[in-house]
Subunit: 131 residues, 2 copies
DNA sequence: TATATATTTTAGCATACTACTAATATTATG
DNA sequence: CATAATATTAGTAGTATGCTAAAATATATA
């Protein structure tokens, strides 16, 4: 039950980790998620209060806990991506559909699905299943 | 894009179809979903305005469109249930985890997953994949 | 039929999430 | 310091979820 996250929170976590190498500030997040600064401000505050993000001198980053959540989402995402594409779903189509569910999936079940498909190390896009 | 539904709306659709053979009234829905009558009232009204439910003399039922949505959710649910259990996830565990995502899944992708696992007719509980 | 019971609906309120504009504060940079 | 860039606060709004209390409608039963 810990703390369920929402789709927008999920998108924020992923964007924060993936779309930038340089320090990420509030306005970067607003830009990445295509929302206005005050909306991003509230989203980020919510994630900070959930212990997922932290802010140092305006630079926003994932906490250790946030990093684990990121990893779980990505593992779920890529595991499902492999399962979808092996069934003949186009990989871009798979990606956009799986975005809707990856953050809601059970970690333990994903682990079993992953073992069952042979514990592959990479997804159809060549990215690591376990980042 | 048609009209996305929420988890509670999903639960209402499923409960309406599955938990009753007799005519279902508002108070039955409130009971089934463990919510108070006014909350159920609003939920049902929302589903009526989305064209999913209809009311005749206080008896609430799925519209044709609602029936199709029900079928899509069930097909997604049972398809995923088979995939989960074949990977070693306990079937009750699978069921409760899949409830969180079945109503969000893409119909076309589910169809491909289903074909890929051999188009089985029944889920682990013995219920039809295509109701 | 009249009263009692059951059921539905309305009204009012609350919280979480998402989103906006406009204004104000803060922090950099020139 | 002044301007530009960022961040924050305040105020508003809509959707979804939930509640209680009260009012309205049905449906039973005496």
């Amino acid at each position: 039950m810990e703390g369920a996250i929402t789709k927008k929170e999920r998108d924020c976590i992923i964007a924060l980790h993936d779309n930038f190498s340089l320090p990420v500030r509030l306005f970067n997040i607003a830009e990445m998620l295509d929302i206005k600064a005050p909306t991003a401000h509230e989203l980020v505050n919510r994630l900070i209060s959930k212990g997922i993000l932290q802010k140092n001198n305006g630079v926003i980053s994932l906490t250790d806990y946030g990093g684990k959540i990121y990893g779980d989402i990505i593992t779920a995402h890529r595991t499902m991506e492999i399962i979808f594409t092996e069934s003949g779903v186009n990989s871009d189509e798979a990606c956009s559909e799986i975005e809707k569910i990856d953050y809601l999936m059970d970690k333990k079940s994903i682990e079993k699905l992953l073992v069952n498909i042979g514990s592959p190390e990479k997804c159809p896009h060549g990215k690591p299943v376990k980042p």
